[in-house]
Subunit: 325 residues, 2 copies
């Protein structure tokens, strides 16, 4: 299993250690050949993203969802995306303990992955890990972010169905939504539904949804009390309903096409970024930034057209079903 061919054989034979090893290879930047070989096996899993502010109970929700899905005989892969900050590890370990009950279940594969740098974006290896779990045959792949920074939004580029969890009375629901999280939700989850402010949060979400001009799927709104498993069946029904809608309308193809484009863009730009660092380091001190960018780009045959707006367009299509973003 130490050579790529042996790893691939073990992976295809369904050995969980091979899946773990394959993800590790992707994390260390040596996963290209594996993804290429296994990509034809992908596209079958139901991929679900879960995000929301810290403290909302995402790990408890994950645990309850896993239990619900396992009770139906489905296999599950879980990816927990952690920020790379040195301060978060203790807190996250505490959160992850809630997933512990599933660690001994051979049909639940749980993996923690770091986000990209401390800007918090999802690394390319996250998408690779989703592909690998999908190719391995997991029926459901759940991707959970800690809900800080860019990974919150990018999760919608990796998952077919995105859950945004909010908790009542936290006082920051509207402010969290400022960052664009409202627009990526396929399902809103009001967790801790026994909280006295739960109804108010639901009203708040509904009135904000009315401001958005949804073109197609209108997000479902589900209440849960994840600690007791309450409402988790309704949440799963909403996920399945969204998945059915994606398939029936052809939106799934468009969504995956967009996710594929996002992934190719990240790989291409990431590779270029690594290469242009060296070019930038060698630039003289007397250049303005536009002249410097032109010199760097000339090495790739690009002449002129340097603009501070170049990267606006590419981020504008995160959520095509919401008009006017």
């Amino acid at each position: 299993m130490d050579d790529p061919a042996g790893l691939l054989t073990a992976f295809r034979a369904g050995e969980p250690r091979a899946l773990a090893r394959a993800i590790s290879r992707c994390e260390s930047g040596r996963g290209a050949d594996l993804i290429r070989a296994l990509y034809p096996l992908t596209g079958r899993a139901l991929t679900v993203g879960l995000t929301g502010p810290p403290g909302v109970g995402k790990s408890t929700l994950s645990g309850a969802l896993i239990a619900h899905v396992r009770a139906q005989g489905k296999t599950v892969g879980v990816i927990s995306v952690d920020p790379s900050s040195p301060f978060s590890h203790g807190a996250l370990l505490g959160d992850r303990i809630r997933l512990l009950e599933h660690f001994t279940d051979p049909d639940v594969f749980i993996r923690s992955m770091a986000s990209r740098g401390h800007l918090g974006g999802l690394s390319g290896a996250t998408a690779d890990a989703v592909s690998l779990m999908d190719a391995f045959g997991k029926d459901v792949v759940l991707i959970e972010t800690v809900g800080v920074g860019q990974s919150e939004i990018e999760i919608a580029e990796v998952a077919d169905t995105t859950l945004v969890a909010l908790q009542p009375g936290s006082g920051d629901s509207v402010q969290v939504l400022k960052a664009g999280v409202l627009e990526i939700a396929d399902v809103f989850v009001v967790n801790k539904s026994d909280h006295p402010m739960a109804l108010q949060l639901q009203r708040e979400i509904r009135s904000m949804m009315e401001m958005l001009n949804y073109d197609g799927w209108v997000p479902a709104l589900v209440s849960t009390q994840a600690v007791e498993g309450k409402g988790v069946d309704k949440l799963w029904d909403a996920i399945v309903a969204h998945d059915a809608w994606l398939r029936e309308t052809g939106a799934l193809h468009a969504k995956r096409r967009s996710a594929f484009a996002h992934r190719v863009r990240q790989l291409a730009l990431g590779t270029l970024e690594g290469r242009i660092e060296d070019a930038i380091a060698q630039l003289g001190d007397d250049l303005d930034p536009y002249a410097a960018a032109e010199i760097v780009l000339a090495e790739y045959g690009v002449r002129g057209g340097v603009s501070a707006l170049g990267n606006v367009r590419a981020h504008g299509d995160v959520r095509a079903h919401v008009k006017g973003l």
Copy 2:
């Protein structure tokens, strides 16, 4: 002033309308020639970034800082970076009212700018606007973000001195710091210092600072009550002390060199990003993402080496004075 040459003449003559027009040109992607012409005039302003979670009182702090700086006879440029989400405008207009008292002061130039997409990163036009205000002769340029998403962190790439404002009793201070905000702070500001939890927040910040292995500047910790202007003199002293430290140690040159590299990288990658969109759109449906990225990159003479890790390294140097990030 409608032609570039006339605009440049008016800009150099110190006409505020020319500064406004120049920033608008940068925002619409037509600012390259202006920046090139004016870049030799930059590097003189003291640039200060202000970030922190929503509700911490950043606009009030900004207003108090402006008043303090103006009382010393210095001119000020202010850039308010707003997220592009359709939900934030109302709230932000409310915040901005606190800056209103300075709108009639001809030596205070205030400009709101959108962040890049709803991922919340700073757009290249923000750095352009800082350069323009600097070249225009503003003594102090204050860049304020709403503290949501990536712009929080990126502000340290634009400003020489970064203030991170926190408020007592908000309950989310530690969680906000998860996102990497702690690492970019040159000065911590505990605003609303009359709050009963203010001392506890100070202790919390100090104990977290002890965990970081500062290599050089150790962030200052200042308490303010911005509504009444209390502590703002101390805050300004801390900013000046950091500026002096940057100059005396040569760290300013290294910092600006890093900021320059960040800006060139953003311009180069942004330009490439716009161009590769078309290439991606034309890719067939039967490719895996790595093969697709190789096809896209081959157009730029790049062969092989596509890796999901390519973009990790470039984000790793946001804060060189904190070891081990």
